[in-house]
């Protein structure tokens, strides 16, 4: 079983390294998003070339974040991958249902302000997290 210990640590190390890379690129994307949200008004006074550069950086960091997430998923073992794929399916479905519903609340007179699309991210994140926890419990 000595050889096998190396194999297992390979899985653990792969996942640990993957998590670090995801953290790095998510942080980079978050910083770019924050810069884009507050920078034009507070830092560079709506300078168009700077704003366009930050938009480009945001897209690059976002695509890189997406790519490392995909790689991380591929490095998981098959049960972990199934758990995360299930969570993604649940998250996508709930986001679609509540996203469309949320958009209709204002025209229906149930909401007195314009719906903010950013709020949908919370539904997505929370439903993903809850689904991962529930699936982990199911298979433990």
């Amino acid at each position: 079983m000595k050889q096998s210990k190396t194999a297992s640590s390979r899985l653990d190390e792969r996942l640990k390294q993957g998590s670090k890379t995801i953290f790095f690129w998510t942080l980079a994307w978050l910083i770019c998003t924050a810069l884009l949200a507050f920078g034009p008004k507070l830092i560079w006074n709506f300078n168009i070339p700077i704003t366009l550069s930050v938009v480009a950086l945001n897209i690059i960091a976002g695509i890189r974040m997406l790519w490392v997430n995909k790689q991380h998923l591929a490095q998981m073992d098959e049960l972990q991958r199934k758990i995360h794929m299930n969570a993604m399916a649940v998250s996508l479905g709930l986001t679609m249902i509540f996203g469309s519903l949320y958009g209709l609340l204002e025209p229906a007179g149930l909401l007195d302000h314009t719906p903010n699309p950013g709020n949908i991210l919370f539904v997505m994140g929370i439903s993903y997290l809850v689904s991962v926890v529930l699936n982990n419990r199911k298979y433990s």
């Binding site: 079983m1 050889q3 096998s4 210990k5 194999a7 297992s8 640590s9 390979r10 899985l11 073992d77 098959e78 049960l79 972990q80 199934k82 982990n136 199911k138 298979y139 433990s140």
Partner: protein, 64 residues
Amino acid sequence: MKNRLKVLRAERDWTQADLAQALDVSRQTINAIEKGKFDPSLPLAFKVARLFQMPIESIFQEEP
């Protein structure tokens, strides 16, 4: 699908962690397979068969 993973592992005095290490999967995966909550993929089933040096059908059986 039924399997004899737990018996075969016990015969060799391996822990779930040992088997997980040998197959390059998590301990949770071994536990789920042993409890019949999760059916392994064909490549993983072949890997298990190779590790125990047994035919795949003597480890995994279809439930009627």
